[in-house]
Structures are given as structure tokens and as C-alpha cells.
């Protein structure tokens, strides 16, 4: 990517542990990879780590891409080469080499690089165009874990989460966690109302998408001089073309069949991917879209606008004899509001485990430029004849690999840390986000805030959790001992007797969430333990509560933790009580432990969102 890593505070000259970064292997479960991209050059990289057991099937690997397999309903002989572009994009965002002077027709130009350019990639192609099936996913997890990856990047999701043992990703990532492998996943693209956050298991990192301070803007200038709209147009400026409305009111290809709009800018009120206007010969198009924060790439000059802006254009068209407009090429502008969560990013609450806050954090997922495949046009429209080595796309798919790379970065400094310790480091050091700029539910929208890889390298304290802790949580969620003994392979009883069952809130998670009934008083306790991974000698952390407000009371006991050695673990309890008067509201707070240098921030959210 050409901007996001700088925006996140991980510049090209960031402090690195290069020898161990080269030992980190990231498994990409995606659409494969385009091996000839300069982002995947192995110049200067040594051979794969000795522990690597992976393979390259129907693919020529190098010292950057050290493994590649493909899965489609058990068939043999398939190629892991990326025919869709998505897998190359995510892989280069994680571990692409530094490539100078790239861009998409000059847009978003700069030096492209991944978060951990020295890390290795292992490719598991499980998605074919836009289709990914459970059985292929689980086969890839099975192989990736046994091959010896250190992290798994999973930019895939469903519309709604499903129970853990009916979800290939939750199952696969659980077994990954057992072998010390963290899975970083997309939170989903269902927006505020289109579904709920996915990939919600507490042993996976669920990543929301946010903006960077680079906003890509293309202008539509009407004949009356008024300027409207913002989106990506990588075509040359389209000058003063006539504006036209579709005869049938729709720009879908079937509605436009048999009509010609040669040389005109077609105004599309009901959305379009550009295929209809392109087939109808339009010179350009203006499309109403409810995601105005994203710069989609279209197969013809295009501006994306809101419904209100469309109404404004219609007013101009209706009162003008020969309405015309010009579509300008896209320019990058500075967005002082960034980071804001993307309009499409799925939000909580977590429908499977309401006591576990998901998404965990947010990372850049809007207008990300990264490697592409030459086998698919940049617009994704196969009528389009524009191909490029780098493309701009958006999604929680793009946010996920930023978090994966940050996890790899942390792992390169702390190779022995458990998946939960790495997750904790990323979550407790995230930069808080502004609920005013991100409406819809505070932490339910952005989790702990924006990823901050440099701070995550040295978090001071971490919340650790191991297999036994997750099993206790699963007991609390109603899974039985027989199931859990099979899952873990343990002979001992997995769940305590009924009366002793704990709650999901007891899991040593770095954030705290509680769903309250409207108008009812509640008191909830979150027992927690933190492990000292900061100063080697004596260090003292004190807790403060940030932002609880009048509706809830937050107490921490004890408020002082004195550590005498590294990896010492000390416990405390957070008690939250109060009442929220009505439904669909939330109150946020945070417990912040500090030794005077480091800040270990654990967000708390109490909500009445159903």
C-alpha cells in the first residue's frame, strides 16, 4: 500500500527485527497470488525457515512465496495462481516488498509496501472468483496449521455469524490457536443494518475497516459551474458531455438493452456497477450509492454521489435545456476527519457471544492500493479492458491484512507470545476513535480503535488466554464436556459442574462488553489478569477509569499492580453497574493501566442494542 502504513505510524524506516521478521510465515487463505508481481520478489531473502513443512503444488515458489496450494471440493491439480486479484492485494498488504513508483493510472501513487516486507507468504487458494466454501476453508486451515504458518489472514466472511462448531473458520482458527497460530479476519461488509459482525470467536481477531487521511475524489462539474460528488475516475477528464436519464429509470443492463447513450453521461438513480452504461455506449456515468466514502473503480468515467446530490443534479437537468457535465480525473485529497469507520463495515453486537466485544479494532480498508493480477480488469468487470499491476479496492478484506501484518510485526519481536498475547497487544494499544465521527454504537462499530503497530510492539501488559480458558468460556456458552473433550483431545472433564459454570465475561479478554436490558439495574464483574511483558524489574501500574458518564459506575480492584519480574501475572476485577433507560443505546468507558510510560487501555461497552 502507498499510504496506509505511514498513516498507521509504521513508516518505511520503522524499528524492525529483520532476522526474526524473515522467520515469520503468514498463511493467506484467499484467491491465490500473482507470483510475478514485483511485490513478491525474493531478492535478498534467504531460504525458508527450517521448520517449514509446506509445499508448492502446481506453482513455482520463491523465497518470498514459500508455499502454495489450491482447494476446490477435493479436486487435484488446481493452480494457486490468482485470477481474481483479491489474494494478491491482501498478500502484498501483509508482506509485499517495497516497490517504488506504483499507482493506478497515477492515482494513489507512491512506494507500495507491505507491513512486514521481510516476512514469508504461504498461499492457500480457497476462493474462486467470489465463491468460498466451508469444506475448502477447513482443508486449508488443516494444511496451514500443519505446514507451520505463524499467522493466518482470512479476508472472508458471511452475512451473519453461525455457532462456533458449525463455522469452518471458527473451528479452523481454534485449532490454529492451539498450535500458537493467530487468525486475523474481516469483520464483514454488512454495514450498520445489513447484518452483524462476523468471525466473532474470541480466539480470532475481527477487524473493522476505516479510512486513512488520503481521500480519493473525482468531481462532477455541472454546466452551471456547480461541483458535485466524489469517487475514483482513472480515465482522462470527460469534458462537457450531455447529461441523460435512462428511459426506464434504471441503469441495469436489462433495462438499458437496445438503448444507446453514445457520448452522454448517464445518470443512474438506483445504483450500477457500470456494466449497463458501458454496454449502452455512455461516455460516463453518475451513480447514486449509499457508500460515498469509497472510491470504486468503474469501467468508464464515473462519479459516485448521494441521493441528495442526485436530487440537486435533477433540479439542474429539469431547468436546463441542454444540461452538460464534466467528470474530472481523481485526485488525492487530505481528509482531516480520518480515521472514520467505513460505511460498509459490519458492526456489533456479537450475536454468538454477546459478552465478547467484536469487532476487536479497526484498520485501513478504504481505497487501498496494492498488488493485482493481470488476469482480471481493475474494475472487476470483464467487459473492461484495463489491466494493471496495482489496483485500488476497499473492504474489511483490506483492513484484515493490515492487522495480520501488525500481528506479524509484533510476533517478529516476541516470537514466543501466544495468539491471545498478540491480540491483546494490538487491542490495548489501539488509538481510541471518536464516537461523534463514527455513529452507530461506539466500540460496537470500531472495537478498541485504530490499529497502532508501533505501540503494539511494546504494550507493557497483556491479557493472555490459552486453550483451557477458551474451553471454560465455551462451557459457559452451553457447549458440553463430551464435545469439548473431542475438540481438545483431553481426557479430563472439560466443564465444571453446572453450578460452578462461569460466564463469557470471565474470559481474560482485553475488552469488556455487556448487553443490558433497558431500564433494568445491572451489576457485572469482569475478572481479569495481566501479564507483565514490559520492564524486566520492578514496575508499578495504576488504573484509571476513563469516560464512564452518569449512567454507569466502573470500579477496579485493586487499582495498583506492582510487578517484580517479567511474565508475572497479577489479577484484578472490574465491576460495572448502573442502568440504561432505553433500548438501542450504549455507554462507553475504559480501564487504562499505566506505569507512567505505557498505556494499557481496555475499553468497556454496556449497550441495549438487540
Amino acid at each position: 500500500t502507498t499510504r496506509s502504513w505511514d498513516f498507521l505510524g509504521l513508516p518505511r524506516n520503522a524499528r524492525r527485527s529483520l532476522p526474526t521478521e524473515g522467520e515469520v510465515i503468514v498463511g493467506m487463505l484467499d484467491t491465490g497470488v500473482w507470483p510475478d508481481s514485483p511485490s513478491f520478489s525474493d531478492d535478498g531473502l534467504g531460504p525458508p525457515p527450517g521448520r517449514w513443512k509446506g509445499a508448492c503444488h502446481n506453482f513455482t515458489c520463491n523465497n518470498k512465496i514459500i508455499g502454495a496450494r489450491a482447494y476446490r471440493q477435493g479436486r487435484a491439480g488446481l493452480s494457486p495462481v490468482d485470477t481474481a486479484g483479491h489474494g494478491s492485494h491482501t498478500a502484498s498488504t501483509v508482506a509485499g516488498r517495497v516497490v517504488e513508483g506504483v499507482g493506478l493510472a497515477g492515482v494513489a501513487a507512491g512506494s507500495a509496501r507491505g507491513g512486514v516486507p521481510a516476512a514469508r507468504l504461504a498461499i492457500y487458494k480457497i476462493c474462486w472468483d467470489d465463491f468460498c466454501a466451508s469444506e475448502d476453508m477447513l482443508a486449508a486451515f488443516d494444511d496451514a496449521i500443519a505446514d507451520g504458518v505463524d499467522l493466518i489472514s482470512f479476508s472472508i466472511g458471511g452475512k451473519l455469524p453461525v455457532p462456533y462448531f458449525e463455522d469452518a473458520a471458527a473451528i479452523g482458527s481454534f485449532h490454529a490457536m492451539r498450535r500458537g497460530v493467530l487468525t486475523s479476519a474481516s469483520a464483514g461488509n454488512s454495514a450498520l443494518t445489513g447484518g452483524r459482525v462476523c468471525n466473532v470467536a474470541p480466539w480470532m481477531l475481527s477487524v473493522a475497516a476505516s479510512s486513512t487521511d488520503r481521500r480519493l475524489v473525482a468531481k462532477l462539474v455541472l454546466g452551471n459551474g456547480k461541483t458535485i460528488g466524489a469517487s475514483v475516475n482513472i480515465f482522462p477528464k470527460l469534458e462537457k458531455a450531455p447529461l441523460a436519464l435512462p428511459v426506464n429509470g434504471s441503469c441495469q443492463p436489462e433495462s438499458l438493452a437496445g438503448q444507446l447513450y453514445s457520448g452522454k453521461i448517464l445518470l443512474c438513480p438506483g445504483g450500477s456497477n457500470g456494466t449497463g452504461p458501458l454496454r449502452a455506449g455512455a461516455a460516463g456515468t453518475v451513480i447514486v450509492n449509499d457508500e460515498p466514502d469509497i472510491a470504486f473503480v468503474f469501467p468508464l468515467p464515473e462519479v459516485t454521489i448521494t441521493q441528495d446530490q442526485f436530487t440537486e443534479i435533477l433540479a439542474y437537468v429539469n431547468r436546463t435545456r441542454n444540461p452538460v457535465g464534466s467528470i474530472h480525473s481523481t485526485k488525492a485529497t487530505f481528509d482531516s476527519e480520518a480515521p472514520t469507520v467505513a460505511s460498509f463495515s459490519s458492526t456489533g453486537p456479537n450475536l454468538i457471544s454477546p459478552g465478547i466485544l467484536k469487532p476487536d479494532l479497526a484498520a485501513p480498508g478504504i481505497d487501498i492500493l496494492a498488488a493485482w493480477t493481470p488476469l482480471t480488469p481493475v474494475s472487476g468487470n470483464h467487459k473492461d479492458n484495463r489491466f494493471a499491476a496495482y489496483n485500488i479496492i476497499s473492504g474489511t478484506s483490506m483492513a484484515c491484512p493490515h492487522a495480520t501484518a501488525a500481528a506479524a510485526y509484533v510476533k517478529s519481536f516476541h516470537p514466543g507470545w501466544s495468539p491471545a498475547m498478540i491480540m491483546s497487544a494490538l487491542i490495548t494499544t489501539a488509538t481510541p476513535m471518536d464516537p461523534g465521527r463514527n455513529p452507530g454504537g461506539g466500540e460496537l462499530v470500531y472495537g478498541a480503535g485504530q490499529l497502532n503497530p508501533a505501540r503494539a510492539r511494546d504494550p507493557g501488559l497483556v491479557y493472555d488466554a490459552r486453550e483451557d480458558d477458551y474451553v471454560r468460556m465455551l462451557c459457559a456458552e452451553g457447549y458440553n464436556s463430551t464435545q469439548l473433550r473431542a475438540v481438545t483431545g483431553a481426557n479430563a472433564a472439560a466443564c465444571p459442574a453446572g453450578g460452578e459454570r462461569s460466564a463469557a465475561a470471565d474470559l481474560n479478554y482485553p475488552t469488556m462488553a455487556h448487553h443490558a436490558a433497558p431500564g433494568k439495574n445491572f451489576t457485572v464483574r469482569f475478572p481479569r489478569a495481566v501479564t507483565n511483558v514490559g520492564a524486566p524489574g520492578r514496575s508499578v501500574y495504576t488504573a484509571r477509569i476513563v469516560g464512564s458518564g452518569p449512567l454507569i459506575t466502573v470500579a477496579v480492584a485493586p487499582r495498583r499492580l506492582a510487578f517484580s519480574r517479567l511474565l508475572q501475572k497479577l489479577s484484578f476485577t472490574v465491576t460495572v453497574s448502573g442502568a440504561l433507560p432505553v433500548g438501542n443505546e450504549f455507554v462507553s468507558a475504559a480501564v487504562v493501566w499505566s506505569d507512567g510510560v505505557r498505556q494499557v487501555r481496555s475499553p468497556i461497552i454496556v449497550h441495549t442494542v438487540d
Binding site: 466451508s134 500443519a146 464435545q483 483431545g489
Partner: protein, 93 residues
Amino acid sequence: SSDGDEKQVYIVYMGHQHEPSESADGFSAAEAAHHKLLNQILDDSSSALDRIVYSYRRSINGFAARLTEQERQKLSTMEGVVSVFPSRTYQLQ
């Protein structure tokens, strides 16, 4: 389908892999166990060999197979089976 004869891919999840097998070509012990389990619930005219799509045998224990609803129900009650769930389609995000 309503008559229960239509087959679809289900994942039969059996938890932890006790006998990780690196055998890429041969028929591993884990695969043999999966075939044995499935053959127990299939009628004489069908074989696990024709039904199994994947045997998960390296880190995870389980298999994916084309099953009818009745076969799914029978497998759900077998010892060692954690869950049997239908293959779902997921999307790139």
C-alpha cells in the same frame, strides 16, 4: 429436498487430530477411520470412497462428504462426532 434423498456437502467435525498424518499419497490411519465411520451409516449400494470430499487429518479431525439429511442425522449421533453442519458459501470481503 423433502424426500431426504438429495445429497449435499456436510462437514463432519470430530475435533482434535489424535494421529496427525503427513501421508500425502497413502491412505492414512485418520482417513481409514473416517471411511470406516461413514461406511457404518451408508447402505450397501454406496461407499465412503465415493462420498468423501476431504479427509481432514493433519491438524483437525473430520471430513467433508456428500450426504443425505438422514445420513447427516445418523452421523450426528455417532460417538466422537462433535458436529455435522452443511457446507456454506462465504464471500470475499
